[in-house]
């Protein structure tokens, strides 16, 4: 048999179809409610049919791809490392999202990816700068989040305790918090502008600033405007 990476996908599909058929047969065969005569094909008819069709097409493709003269599915090693890093980090992000929380986990994911994407490779000698950058970015992120929370709470309390109900309005609170954080963000950017031009600090600083800006922006949009319950995790306040 000719060895080609192109047959991997049909093989995976063959296994998937077999598993699908087996599981379809194990579905409890129930008829439509009210179908006294038993004319409904039942709950497992379509899944079984589709499973067999999928198996047939996968087997056909397996033999076709074996003879195919099309180029192999390949990846260059540096891209491979970055793709594996992205997939692994995304899996960890999902697994720990609830326990670590949105702010911290997003900060780690974004900083790590931007840092290594800029470097376009992963090497051990990059780890020192990366770790320092990640710690600094995390610390600053927590500070930003805390300031944002403080401003929102402060406005909320003023709105509740005074006659200015507008202060506790969702859009007003979000707008003011956003503007204050934006001001602090750009002030920091100005302070660090010389350091950003320095080759040694450029990538960690840029990665950090982008991470903080994007994480806070997503938090404001989804949490403060749309009230999505983003997990707090370790940052409980």
């Amino acid at each position: 048999m000719k060895k080609t990476t192109r047959i991997i996908i049909p093989i995976v599909f063959i296994f998937f179809s077999l598993l699908y058929i087996i599981l379809s047969f194990s579905i409890e065969q129930r008829k439509m409610i009210g179908d006294e005569m038993g004319w409904d094909p039942g709950s497992r008819a379509i899944p079984i049919g589709i499973g067999f069709l999928m198996l047939g097409v996968s087997i056909y493709l397996f033999f076709k791809e074996r003879k195919s003269g099309e180029e192999e599915i390949t990846l260059d090693p540096a891209s491979k490392k970055l793709i594996i890093l992205t997939i692994m980090l995304s899996i960890l992000y999902i697994l720990f999202f609830r326990f670590v929380g949105f702010i911290l986990s997003t900060n780690v994911l974004l900083f790590t990816l931007i840092y290594f994407y800029y470097k376009r490779d992963i090497k051990w000698n990059m780890m020192r700068n990366f770790s320092i950058g990640l710690l600094a970015s995390t610390g600053t992120m927590i500070l930003f989040y805390s300031i944002g929370r403080f401003v929102t709470h402060f406005l909320f309390l003023i709105g509740r305790r005074s006659n200015f109900e507008i202060f506790s309005g969702r859009l007003f609170m979000t707008g003011v918090t956003f503007l204050i954080l934006l001001f602090i963000f750009f002030t920091m950017l100005l302070l660090f502008r010389k350091a950003i031009k320095n080759e040694n600090f450029r990538i960690p600083l840029l990665s950090g600033f982008i991470t903080i800006g994007v994480t806070e922006f997503i938090y404001i949009i989804f949490k403060q405007i749309f009230w999505v319950s983003l997990a707090k995790g370790l940052i409980f306040w």
């Binding site: 094909p41 931007i114 994407y117």
Partner: protein, 502 residues
Amino acid sequence: MEELISGFLQIFNVGTILWVALGEVLGIVLGALPGLTATMGIALMVPISFQLSKATGIALLLGVYCGAVSGASIPAILLGIPGNPNAIATVYDGHAMTKKGLAGQALGGAVVASFIGGIASLIILVLFSPLIAKITLAFGPAEKACLAMVGLTIIASVSTKNLAKGILTGLLGLSLSLLGTDPFSNALRIPFPDLLAKTPLTSGINLIPALIGLFGISQVLFDLERIKQGHIAPPQVKIDRVFPPLKKIARMWRIIIESIGIGTLIGAIPGTGASIAVFLSYERAKNITSSPKWKLGKVGSGCLEGVIAPEVANNAVTGGALIPALSLGIPGDAATAVLLGALLIKGVVPGYQLFSQEMSLVYAIFFALFLSNVFMFTFQILGVRLFPKVLAVPMAILIPIILVLSLIGSYAIQGQAILSAIFDMGVALALGILGYFLKKGGYPIAPIVLGLILGGMFEENFRRAVKLAGGNYFVFFTKPIAILFIALAIFSVVLPLLKKRK
């Protein structure tokens, strides 16, 4: 009349106008960035649209759609790289014009053409979709099941050169759509039901995380392979005169009319999409301009005619693709498949029911498409010197942002129930990884989405038809419309095979 006014008011209010404007700018930016597609842009915006009212949410997505389709011409003209497949044919004459120092006219011409194409196809959409929707009144369960089958087979056959690959991914979509609970008997249809009976899997696979994974995350992984190239240097071109001479455009009336026809018609055929329409219209324009009687520049030599034809066609696709989506529930291309998914999630059922019971929403969609085209024209003309700078944004920044937006977008759909929301993130990532490997192997992604959308419609109507026919599986061959659909499905499968033999 009341419904018309209601539809108008649903779109022409400050909030919706701002959301459409935001969607338009985002769409243009996404369209202008090579590798990022209109479909991906819409998929990323679905979670935000989910939080808005029906009309506003759809208007936002239409804004992204129109912006991304027209924005793709920016890198095609300035760099010779199409922002997405919609602008493949714009590259030839558009980039040649840039080399001649006519970048401004090429960009301006593309915007004017996009506007003409978009508005003309909107008019056709307004005229034809209610008529087609009325035809669906004659559809019973057998016809509906066969219609779903036609949608799937057509998209499987035209979305890839390899028919079997298209069919296989379509079947994969169908198989995934059946996971969860049987709609008629509530029987669990999940692997290891004893173990997983209390997990979110019992509700099946949510459409939005699936769309985000297949179009957003898979594209992220695909673009990672290009990260070594670094970011594209912003083009150093002088953009002076932006508006092309109107007299010249008027002389191109035949090219414009034919391109509108091609774009709308191709758009309306499920699964075809803009990449086919732009080549057809480009070829037609080539034929027309080869005759001296039209006194036009020869397409292929770096002239405005070669930009106008594909740009009219690709924007005409936007309205055309919405015709089957709104009237039959069968999307015209991958981008409208995502739009259709967003409609279904909002509880909007396309077909006659939509046109008879929610006409104000239909009008709102028409107004939203009009507003999107107006914004597309305005923003592109105003930003003609600004948008090219977007090309300088490094992929190293863009890719992680899109990944996080994809994950959080999937989470936000069920954001109040953390476990289900985390499960949705997992679905998006799993399908994203799957989509990436399938793309690498030359397998099309769009049929998976169609399978996911049409799977429920197919199964429910298939079973209902068989039950009503007293258990007769040949019921599909006893109804003329169903037979027509079966013939269409067979034709769509056989035609590519015959073409290959030739």
